[in-house]
Symmetry: C2
Subunit: 476 residues, 2 copies
């Protein structure tokens, strides 16, 4: 069926919610009237509503159902999920995000789960294998033929973030000595091409990848032409263990719609298509957003409170530790503050403006790293630039801030100390903002995770230290 | 030629840098020896190095050249750019990011720029039209036929962020009454299909979009079969003025590789393909990273210092204004701080932990809005959840922070005030963290731009106010 335009999707969600509301109302009535004799009528009405919901859902695209499941609170979600036929439920399960998927799987009886998962093909089952207990997976894989079974079972051995995890085995290959006519006849015998096919990959007698023929070329080719003469031998290939980021960069850079995956010997194993790369790009970019904000993973919007709270603890704990240290630095200057209380009101400005400019630098560096634009050789150049920007902004905004302090507290020396502290803290922010994400990236870590926390620590602590230290030296 | 794998690209960049270094050295020698009689030998050597560089560049893929241009500092960049033949330069110009493109265009003589831009087809010219002065564009468009010319000229009328901006006019359509054999013959006559074609769109006699035929289906179809019987009539179509986000969501959701674009009457105008959607998704996700950090737009890593500094000013100014307000709030409690100086050391903790948890909430909400998962109907549910998480985290971390204060300053009441202030500030962070991005989004603004600044303002000001206010009430 036709996928829904955005406004129609909105309508669909409203409609489902309407049906749920009707049902939910009756459900609560039913709950109040636990005695079996009453509520027969309500029970009938309730069942009829559920049937209505089920019939309505059956007309939706699986991806739209997935989107509805993401957008509604847990109780409603389980109700909708329960009304889906196995085929639709399995298709929707592939589409939802991981936290929602895990919640749905948890809420499903073993028997129904088995029925739903039995609808999946080897590729989809492999995709979901991470969220699935090993015994269930083996049981499900048993119904496949040997090739598909080993496909599903091998999938666990590929590391997360590898090209193999993006790959589908749904690939149709041509043989180099074939003619175009023979190739088309072969495809005709199969009846159809795998989804998302824009070109067919060509292999030699030993199944080694030799090139690719775009479908359009095959379509207009002389039936007598040899495949080897039609194919483009210079195509970008990926190895099973290549990092998925590399695939994403190549798809973006060379505008690919599909690419072949080969093993160490160069044998064609599978194919990566643009639709899964697109999902990967979205997910990894969004992880930068989350990582910079101090969240480990994406969260189901309606996750149980305790799960949500836990997801936020690790970086909160780190942040708290650094806040304690910053607090102790201030503590070391309590005598100074005692003598000149305005310092207490002014010091957060120094820390805040440092944190802000530093986080701008961090975001630029994290982005450049994600886009593979920052080579180590250019890092020094970038650092020099950020320091110059810091110097410029420090002089400009530092003067403004110094004037503010001077006007509010009628003290030129206080203003000068303020200006100097801001200037120095912006330079500090530039250095830390460039170095921390670069260092994390060099160490093989995700630069988005933690950069911001370390940066804020540096700009807070140094901000307080610089300002109060300068004040102690020059104002008392 | 084959696009370069990532490690080969790294090599290519090193190689170019080697050539540049060789050249740069001689260039500086040449500069020192301005007298025409000396340096003839060096001049010859210098020219030979440039030729070497040019020949090496000629073997690179345009997208790799673009990537090299992004990754090297301005002087080197202009040198490499200058060695590119017009065809290669034009292809690379399409691939680089907007700030780099603008810098390159600025550095190029009008004559050479015209030569380079003359190599572009109407679609690419249209894509670049935003960075180009109007007279130049008209001059370039003049060499196209009437259809292409109006294509280029109309492009300026489509609003930024609309589907039309993602579209290419490079679309081949079939006619519903044709047979498959006639359609294939038509394609054969053209010689080839437009790039990134996975299916052909079908129109009726009035050019109204009727459906689509996947290439694979056409490939295996009986030549006598009618196109209308082969086509899928239920396909997702977009209108010229649909927001581009909607296209991106649909491509991700329904795993599309291409989609038709129609005008108000349903006439087929053009086509959107997965490669441009991929670029759009990357760009808009990365803009979330930048927006949350308080940057208006992506920045050329090696942009002139003044441009970079300016890009950071608007949000810095807002941040500064809010920091001044927060400072004045503290200023209002100077008498309190005077009596109990430890308050000055402890207050940043309250603000910091509030800011951190609030920014986590902001990131989750911005992400959910980007993925189109947050319906207004669910906002209340989300708010309740975030408040509960805030209550839980506030009780937990607030107690820890209270204990810290108690131990360091030997005062149980001080610890209790600290705990209460943290708890209240986390609730404040939850409310602001949900409401601000939602409100921005409802107002049709980008929720990533500014949410974080407003949030930090709220958690800083309220944090200081709550803590110092409670201290004044209960400790003095």
């Amino acid at each position: 069926m036709e996928p829904a335009p955005a406004d129609r999707l909105e309508q669909q969600i409203e409609e489902v919610k309407g049906l749920l509301a009707k049902h939910g109302l009756l459900e609560s009535v039913a709950r109040r009237q636990q005695t079996p004799r009453s509520g027969l009528l309500e029970e009938m009405q309730r069942r009829q509503n559920l049937v209505e919901l089920e019939m309505r859902l059956r007309t939706f695209h699986p991806a739209d159902i997935a989107s509805i499941l993401e957008s509604i609170p847990p109780d409603d979600r389980i109700l909708v999920w329960g009304q889906l036929k196995a085929a639709l439920a399995s298709a929707a399960l592939v589409e939802v995000s991981e936290p929602v998927r895990e919640a749905l799987i948890e809420s499903t009886s073993a028997e129904r789960l088995f029925a739903i998962l039995s609808e999946l093909d080897a590729d989809d089952l492999r995709y979901l294998s991470a969220s699935m207990p090993e015994p269930l997976l083996s049981e499900l894989a048993a119904k496949f033929d040997a090739q598909d079974r080993s496909w599903v079972e091998e999938s666990r051995s590929y590391p997360e973030g590898s090209t193999a995890r993006l790959m589908t085995q749904d690939v149709l290959s041509l043989h180099a000595p074939q003619t175009a006519g023979e190739a088309v006849a072969g495809v005709r015998q199969l009846g159809s091409l795998p989804a998302h096919t824009d070109r067919l990959f060509v292999v030699d007698a030993r199944n080694l990848l030799a090139g690719a023929v775009p479908l359009g070329v095959l379509l207009v080719a002389d039936p007598a032409a040899e495949i080897s003469s039609l194919m483009d031998p210079d195509i970008r290939r990926f190895h099973l263990y290549d990092p998925a980021e590399e695939v994403a960069t190549a798809f973006e850079r060379y505008d690919l719609l599909s690419a072949p995956v080969v093993d160490d010997r160069g044998k064609l194993i599978g194919r990566v298509t643009a639709d899964s790369v697109m999902d990967f790009i979205r997910a990894s970019s969004e992880n930068n957003v989350l990582g910079l904000a101090g969240l480990r993973t994406a969260e189901d919007l309606f996750a149980p409170v305790l799960d949500s709270a836990r997801n936020r603890w690790p970086w909160l704990a780190v942040n708290l530790a650094t806040a304690f240290i910053a607090s102790r630095i201030i503590g070391g200057f309590e005598g100074t503050i005692q003598q000149l209380v305005p310092l207490a009101a002014l010091m957060p400005i120094v820390a805040s403006v440092g944190g802000n400019t530093g986080n701008q630098t961090v975001a630029l560096v994290v982005r450049a790293l994600a886009l593979d634009q920052l080579k180590i050789g250019s890092a020094w150049h970038l650092m020099r630039k950020e320091l110059t920007v810091g110097l410029l902004n420090g002089a400009l905004w530092g003067t403004l801030i110094g004037l503010f302090a001077m006007v509010v507290y009628h003290s030129a020396p206080l203003g000068l100390v303020m200006t100097s502290a801001v200037l120095l803290n912006l330079l500090n922010a530039a250095i830390v903002g460039v170095l921390v994400p670069l260092a994390l990236s060099q160490a093989g870590r995700d630069p988005a995770q933690g950069s911001s926390v370390v940066l804020t620590f540096a700009t807070d602590s140094m901000g307080f230290f610089l300002f109060l230290g300068l004040a102690q030296l020059f104002l008392l």
